[in-house]
Each structure stands twice: as structure tokens, then as C-alpha cells.
């Protein structure tokens, strides 16, 4: 009997080269792929928004976002993804689909997206300048504050974007991008940021 290993590979596994990229000197941008997460799409059933909200509150201790926001629960982030729906993002194994199924039984339909996306964290002085080349959203701090989220597009590709907690006084933007587009979009981000200098890394730590 053959011996199999079921090793996982991030869709950015090949494209991501840890280290500096682009202009030399102080990097304007830090680009980090976050690996090992669970991501579940939760969609309320017809007329069951109230029940879904209640279930969310009971399970996560926070209400599900009803507007484009990312809400931090103890060990998960609930990210609005459309009317009557949100994504549950958690470290791998925390809130997997099977664990959430009983929570939302009857109130919402669940769909596993854990492998459908890559998660990229964008930060640094030039984070906004870089994202302005990719996103038509206004990311001014007065408009897109901590916890703001958007279901939007970058480079004609759907993404989920939200602002995490600031790090060292600088804004952190998180991006969920579709896995099969991830490598392509990654290169586009690098091209956009090359003039500022980029530090590339990956991590299993959640911001």
C-alpha cells in the first residue's frame, strides 16, 4: 500500500519569496500571507436573519455584522460579505464548518471557503498608496476606520477587504482573495509596490 502525505500548499506557496522586493532602503510596505485558517460563509435563510443573529451572539459572544464591518470575537473575526451573510475567519481548527453547522442549523446555510481564499495582510507607510492602485475604495482613515470592511474588487477580481487593528501606529489592511487568482494578484500587488520597497513574509499568526 502506497504511502501518501496530504501536505497542504498555499496558493501563494510558489509566488511568495520571503525577503525584500523592489526599491532598496526602508520598505514602504509589508506584505504577509497568513496561512492556516478556517473560513466559513454563513448565509441566513429566508426570513431567518433574526435567528442567525441570535445564534451568532450565542456562539461568538458578538453580533454578526449587518453592515460592512469586521467584528472581532474572542477567537474569530466575523466579516460582513453581503446582505444577510458574513464570513467566519478563525485560526485553523477553531471554527471549522462542522463545528459551526449545529450552531446555525435551521437559521443559515454554511459553505466552506477555507481553501477558496488566500489571506494577505498589507501594512506600512505606503499601504494606502499601494492599495490605491488596486482598489477604488476610499481608504482614508476618516472613512475606512479600524474594523471597516468591504466586499469589493481589485484588478477586476473579487476580494474581501477589511482594516485590522493598527500595528506600530500604522494601519493594517487584510485581504481575502480567491485562491486561483491569488498568484496573479500577488504579482500585481508587488508590481504596484515595487517603487516603495516591500518586505515579504508569511505567518500563521493572526493580526
Amino acid at each position: 500500500m502506497a504511502d501518501f502525505s496530504w501536505d497542504v500548499r498555499s496558493p501563494l506557496d510558489r509566488a511568495l519569496v520571503v525577503g525584500p522586493y523592489g526599491a532598496q532602503g526602508d520598505a514602504g510596505l509589508a506584505l504577509t500571507e497568513i496561512r492556516d485558517f478556517d473560513l466559513v460563509q454563513v448565509m441566513a435563510r429566508r426570513g431567518k436573519a433574526g435567528a442567525m443573529t441570535k445564534a451568532t451572539k450565542a456562539h461568538f459572544g458578538v453580533a454578526a455584522p449587518e453592515t460592512p464591518k469586521a467584528v472581532a470575537a474572542a477567537d474569530a473575526t466575523l466579516i460582513w460579505s453581503g446582505p444577510d451573510q458574513f464570513l467566519v475567519l478563525s485560526k485553523g481548527g477553531r471554527h471549522a464548518l462542522e463545528m459551526l453547522a449545529p450552531v446555525f442549523a435551521g437559521s443559515a446555510s454554511l459553505s466552506d471557503q477555507s481553501h477558496a481564499r488566500a489571506l494577505i495582510s498589507v501594512s506600512g507607510d505606503k499601504a494606502r498608496a499601494t492599495l490605491a492602485k488596486l482598489s477604488s475604495i476610499d481608504l482614508h482613515p476618516g472613512v475606512f476606520g479600524v474594523g471597516a470592511a468591504a466586499a469589493t474588487s481589485m484588478d477586476h477580481t473579487s476580494v474581501t477587504l477589511w482594516r485590522g487593528r493598527d500595528r506600530s501606529g500604522l494601519a493594517v489592511f487584510n485581504l481575502l482573495v480567491f485562491a486561483t487568482f491569488a498568484e496573479s494578484l500577488w504579482h500585481t500587488i508587488l508590481d504596484s509596490a515595487a517603487e516603495y520597497g516591500v518586505t515579504i513574509s508569511h505567518s500563521e499568526e493572526f493580526a
Binding site: 448565509m43 441566513a44 435563510r45 429566508r46 426570513g47 431567518k48 436573519a49 433574526g50 435567528a51 442567525m52 453592515t67 460592512p68 460579505s81 453581503g82 446582505p83 444577510d84 477604488s136 475604495i137 468591504a150 466586499a151 469589493t152 474588487s153 477586476h156 473579487s158
Partner: protein, 89 residues
């Protein structure tokens, strides 16, 4: 053009896909009625109600009231089944 998605806020045209006149209602049956629904258009020169899809965003279908002479958008509302989880809730 920018459309104020009732769910997402104001967004760039590129996130949306256009379908067309939102006035005709799909008839259940009848060749003439369906022909009319599928093929004939008022082709309004002025204020028109239209179906747009926020496919590059929240995937809601929207009814957009827009002037075809000026492109001015005066109202945007969700399609009946967008956000329907709140129906009766």
C-alpha cells in the same frame, strides 16, 4: 459612473454589471406575453428603472433609477430577494 449600493455604499461602475430595464415582469406563460418580455423595450429616454448586479461586491441585484439622458442616478434599491432574510423577521 458610481452607484450607491444599498448594502455597500458608493462604488465604482466596474463593480457592477448591467442587465436592463427592470419594468417588464416575467410572465408565467403565453407566447405573446413572453415575447414582449424578452424582446420589446420601451428604451426610455429619461428616467428608467434598471437591473444592475453588484457582482464585484456583495452580489446583490439592484434596481437603479437612472436617467438615460444624463446618467444621473436618483434611487437605488435592492431587488426583492436581496436581503430577504429579514423578510418576516
Amino acid at each position: 459612473m458610481r452607484i450607491v449600493c444599498p448594502f455597500c455604499g458608493e462604488r465604482e461602475l466596474g463593480e457592477f454589471t448591467y442587465l436592463g430595464d427592470a419594468k417588464p415582469q416575467r410572465p408565467a406563460a403565453g407566447a405573446d406575453a413572453v415575447y414582449d418580455y424578452v424582446y420589446l423595450r420601451d428604451n426610455v429616454a429619461g428616467v428608467m428603472s434598471e437591473h444592475w448586479y453588484h457582482g464585484g461586491g456583495c452580489r446583490a441585484w439592484l434596481k437603479v433609477t437612472r436617467n438615460t439622458l444624463t446618467h444621473e442616478i436618483s434611487a437605488v434599491e435592492p431587488a426583492a430577494g436581496a436581503g430577504a432574510a429579514k423578510v418576516g423577521a
